[in-house]
């Protein structure tokens, strides 16, 4: 099992399959309340992030994104987040929604469908081989 060391943004521990966006995400307008990616310029357009760990480089756009993340987390749809560089809007959503978030991870080492552990208590990502 490969370990990637990152930075703790939001505590918690979760195991799951990942889905990756290689471009930055605005949760407002970019992801629906049901977890479907609605940003037509994103490569994940039309796909669901529900019940997955969402990996993306960083946030962009609306400051309401925090509420969208909070809502997805409270409904149990979003399990965890891994970022290259987490901005406060995304961090706020994860902290309030109580889902683990680790950043400063080289996300190019991850690929769609990987099963990983996000250990937000220690700031570590473990990739199952």
């Amino acid at each position: 099992m490969e370990e990637l060391k990152g930075r703790i943004i939001s505590k918690g521990y979760v195991e799951g399959e990942i889905i990756i966006s290689n471009s930055p995400i605005s949760f407002l307008g970019g992801v629906s309340e049901e977890g479907i990616v609605t940003d037509k310029e994103n490569e994940l357009y039309g796909k669901s992030i529900a019940n997955k760990i969402f990996v993306f480089p960083t946030g962009k756009g609306s400051t309401v994104g925090s509420y969208v993340i909070y809502g997805l987390a409270k409904k149990g749809l979003l399990k965890g987040i891994v970022n290259q560089d987490c901005e406060p809007i995304v961090a706020t959503g994860a902290i309030l929604g109580k889902i683990p978030l680790v950043d400063h991870v080289d996300i190019s080492k991850l690929k769609n469908g990987d099963k990983i552990i996000v250990d937000g208590n220690n700031g570590i990502i473990k990739v199952e081989n």
Partner: protein
Amino acid sequence: MYLTTEEEKIYNGEYGETLEMCMNLIVSLGDIYGAEKLIDVTSAQVSGVSYKTIGEKGLEFLRDMSASGLKVSVPTTLNPAGMDLIDYKNIGFPEDFAKKQIEIIDYFEKMGIELGCTCTPYLSGNVPRFRDHISWAESSAVCYSNSVLGAYTNREGGPSALASAILGKTSYYGYHLDENRTPNFKINLDLDFEKIGLKCDNKINNMASYGLIGRYVGRIVKNGIPYFNFSNKQKNDGLNIKSECLKGLGAALAASGGVALYHFNGITPEAICTYDNQFDKGNLKFDDEITITNEMIEEELSKFNNDQKIDLICIGCPHSGMSEIKTIVDILLEEKKQLKTDLWVCTSIYTKAIADRMGYTKIIEDAGGKLVVDTCMVVAPIEKMGYKYVATNSGKAATYLPNFCSSEVIYGSIEELIRKGLNQ
């Protein structure tokens, strides 16, 4: 991170759970981003007001917050709601939506927040001073206050701005520190503005041009700090750039990218005070640079469906100031025709009060348009109101409308869109 005795007590829950939650959020962010302490803020702008954007979970969050009886401790203003709070029935907002929206507004009122509902608080009384520390959400207002007013704020999320408003404090990190405000991306505007494919006079001083520039540059610089300069320095002299152009530029930069702060040679205060001198001497170092040409702007403009018949023209993203309303009124007075499409001029209740008094509201209404307050085309449920082909002069609206409102966008200057609406 250092906390005073009083802050420590709040953090440890001695003043109740809700204050503890607010402090925990602010301190967590501070710990993550390396803040050494908390600082006082002079104002807050809270986003996440429309029921359409925050949904049921957001509403429950605000219900819990307001139930604690806590009030904001600094002047705090509110972002647009999902509907005109006065005229929502006539405009045709769905009734179940209206009920939820009013409930949300009631929670904010209980917390002592000013119910102005605008994304341009800086046009209606919430005006930070140069180098004031503030805690603002609303991405376009963050960009305007940092860049054009020279105040200091991070891109606060809706809930963290609210927590800050209650505590009167934020963590001292990011854009609150001078060393993090240095530009890192040089943007040369090598544009022949008059050749841009918009129909209006004086394109170098029209908000629609800057929306296109902002969309293009935002995608490239992402969350960097751009430094704009005209390739031909003379362009800057005597330009007297309108504040609506700077508003539109920042809004688009923050929508297509995550820009919180930009500098503009000869125009924005920190550029003038701190960076222009170094730039002129060639001492300002950048990580990267890009030259914006007419081809890039045309590519941006070609993404829109400009031959399409319009269902709704939306002006006012961010909210219109008086000069934009005046531009519309002048065209209506000149053409003396009825609009063949719906027109929403979105603005704050403050600006509308003056437009009413000046007779502008009546002129717009007589032509078949509406001055819509408290909301805008992005956060209102326009897709449920039968609007599909939506025309805008805003680079920000043009970015959100297709994804969030399933709209097809027609893009142009105010002059061009109003004339289309009168003659289509």
